[in-house]
Symmetry: C2
Subunit: 406 residues, 2 copies
């Protein structure tokens, strides 16, 4: 029996150098990821059924898991013990494996590649299968680190994020990215990997220091500015409650901000294959001054300054009014943010200088790929993308911010 | 102005411990990946327009790229020089960056995590953006290594795979996975990351040694057995041509095998979120004896033995007939494969023993997660999944194979 394999019916697609021609094969791969974000308090209290319930909802039987807890949490060891107790109490749902441990948190954790390997080894040693769970409890930095290790072990083991900061609960923790810093570049290594679950426990927010409490609010202002004018007004009307650390107000902000982020990711380009990244409003300068300040500035603090800069630039470009600009700057002031940092000005005359702020523009473009695409403001509640910038206008904007910050 | 954020209309979803309740947010993220697989000869000959054409088809303008070439290719340095010449000649399409270099190939390359970091650093140093290209030219092992580095740099830079082995062109190179070995586990670290392009150049196959030429054919037999009886017959009718290294026959096999793999991936569960992996027929034992033999056995050689084992087991389970089993074993014999290796038997009495073959079953289950799911044969051309195995039947199958191999 002979059998001939299909040859192209029509014209050969390409090269003439082959004697036999084979039609090109076109491949389309579609992947759907689902995850729920739950809001609760006292997540690891054995009386709270949420964790056990959501684990059982993913399929029958006890789920193997390993837990990593941010060592920067004041209540770190208690939490680890609580998770262990939870597992004992709800053993029909959760089987916590030995190897669960405290993990360094904060930005420094993202600067040490050895930590990724340590985490991958802990996952391997625990003999977890790909349907087992890594439970990560901590700030955005620690979640990014653990997320990267989980996404690469077994080509991706299930991840439950329990963000413990405002920024984690309203932004990074509900997103689809992870990563660490490498070769002097922020988030140079990482993957797109949606979590399996996100569990936001508001109680964690009570132990944040004032800077970290405030810092995450910058991301809420960011998403309000580009998408939701009513949310901007809500924040502007609740600055006092926020400064006074009213948890109920903060929960409302976290919820709305998380929802806006989730909707944007689902409706947009979740794995960022294009050149546009609307949620990174204010971030080109933010990433740059975070780095230039050697992470003296927190992410949200740098984002606040980056937003003020791009808002001022939007005003100078005739996009928003002076009154709108003032509303924005006043909101950040009322929340206790600085509008300016010396890193904005260091060596800012030549974009080629190794410490120039403007290298942030090319790094931003390099990370996303393709054409430079920056988000500016058309009005409060609506962003506008541009592909070119005028550096002199940025220099003027920086001087204006320095004044406004006084 | 006051503004109240949405609260759940119906019953609160979960925990009672919070004063205010927030409805859970359900997230669905859909991602589509497209990539073409082209077949050609003399890909890097400046007279062959294919590469320049496909680069331009992805968008206007010159594309930045870095090329990595498997140092195990006999023509390695010439190929690197050819790619450089191609870039000069087609500079309107391709801008090859400094840093392009030879990279160790073969399984050893997947056992050295330092190589991943070296590659990531080369990509960083070349200042490639996320829309730039990594061109990887080499065997399946080197493509897995480079693919992992490319998938994690900038959270995924574009990858062009140019597989140079039979196995690479018909199986691994057209798939969506990458990875390296770690902590004694095959492919423990890696990601799911579809390439941007696959360019199969048949000329590379002419320099393979006989073992590597033969080895990749095992994957074609594998996919024929579980999906395509006519293709099985085609291979069985062309064993002589294959043994005599007829390139035209091999190209037909590569084409059909690649297509079957692509169709399976597109139609199935591309990122393996479930517990089933039909394309891994024969692979639980194959991975195990590859490892036990310290990679003395090549992947395809181990796969041939694994298929013979699971086919014999299928016969012993009353699924396929004796005649079908003989057809399968005879095909592998005619192609020059061994049907048995001593690693199958080493310490095979107790599954707990550290060198037991049967640890391959639990490792397979651990990697995929969930229930044990093994592919067996219902008949030639059709697989059948089972969730339980009888180790004594496997012991008998091993003895039968030892006999048959004589
Ligand atoms: N993956 C993404 O999509 C994404 C998005 C935005 C930001 N990020 C990243 O998130 C990181 C910033 O995260 P962050 O703002 O949460 O800061 P962080 O994770 O650095 O945490 C700040 C500090 O607070 C400590 N901490 C955490 N929870 C606490 C609590 N409940 N009480 C007291 N202390 C606590 C931490 O140990 C750390 O020392 C950055 O690395 C940024 O790049 C990632
Ligand atoms: N990612 C996937 O989906 C997937 C699927 C199947 C297998 N794999 C992996 O692929 C690897 C095996 O790949 P392989 O069979 O291509 O072997 P290989 O990559 O180990 O190559 C075998 C040897 O041949 C050399 N070589 C490569 N091309 C050559 C050529 N044209 N001429 C002469 N020599 C050449 C290599 O340098 C190497 O020394 C394994 O690590 C396996 O795990 C991956
Ligand atoms: Zn941010
Ligand atoms: Zn294989």
């Amino acid at each position: 029996m002979t059998f001939t394999l299909s040859k192209p019916a029509s014209q050969p697609a390409v090269s003439k150098s082959s004697s036999t021609e084979y039609a090109s094969l076109k491949q389309e791969v579609k992947v759907t990821f689902n995850y729920d974000v739950h809001f609760t308090r006292d997540l690891f209290n054995p009386d709270n059924p949420l964790l056990a319930q959501v684990l059982l909802a993913t399929g029958e039987g006890t789920k193997k898991a390993i837990a990593f807890v941010d060592s920067g949490l004041p209540q770190q060891t208690e939490i680890l013990a609580q998770i262990q107790a939870y597992s004992k109490c709800h053993s029909y749902a959760l089987n916590l494996k030995p190897g669960s441990t405290l993990i360094a948190g904060g930005e420094a954790a993202k600067n040490n590649p050895q930590l990724v390997e340590n985490l991958q080894k802990l996952i391997s040693d625990a003999e977890l299968c790909r349907h087992s769970y890594v439970i990560a409890v901590g700030g955005g930095a620690m979640l990014d680190l653990v997320g990267y290790a989980a996404a690469t072990a077994h080509r991706g083991i299930r991840l439950i994020r329990v963000p413990t900061t405002v920024l984690g609960q309203c932004d990074s923790g509900v997103g689809v990215k992870n990563g660490i810093n490498a070769f002097g570049k922020k988030n140079f290594l990482g993957t797109f990997a949606p979590p399996t679950l996100v569990l936001n426990d508001a109680n964690f927010l009570t132990t944040l220091d004032d800077r970290n409490w405030r810092s995450g609010i910058a991301e809420a202002v960011k998403v309000a500015l580009i998408k939701d004018a009513a949310f901007f007004d809500f924040i502007a009307n609740h600055t006092e409650a926020l400064v006074n650390r009213d948890l109920d107000t903060m929960q409302q902000i976290v919820y709305r901000c998380a929802k806006l982020h989730l909707d944007h990711i689902a409706g947009g380009d979740p794995f960022e294959m294009g050149s546009s990244r609307p949620l990174d409003f204010g971030h080109w300068a933010a990433h740059r001054i975070e780095y230039l300040s050697n992470y003296r500035l927190y992410h949200g603090e740098a984002v606040a300054i980056g937003i003020c800069l791009d808002s001022t630039y939007s005003y100078l470009s005739g996009l928003i009014t002076k009154q709108e600009l003032n509303e924005i700057l006043n909101l950040f002031k009322a929340l206790g943010f600085r509008l300016y940092d010396a890193e904005l000005s260091s060596h800012f005359t030549s974009p080629e200088h190794s410490r120039s702020l403007f290298r942030g523009l090319s790094e931003f473009q390099e990370h996303l790929g393709g054409e430079l695409t920056l988000m500016l403001l058309a009005t409060i509640g609506q962003g506008l993308e541009v592909h070119q910038v005028d550096l002199d206008k940025y220099r003027l904007a920086i001087m204006m911010l320095k004044e406004a910050d006084l």
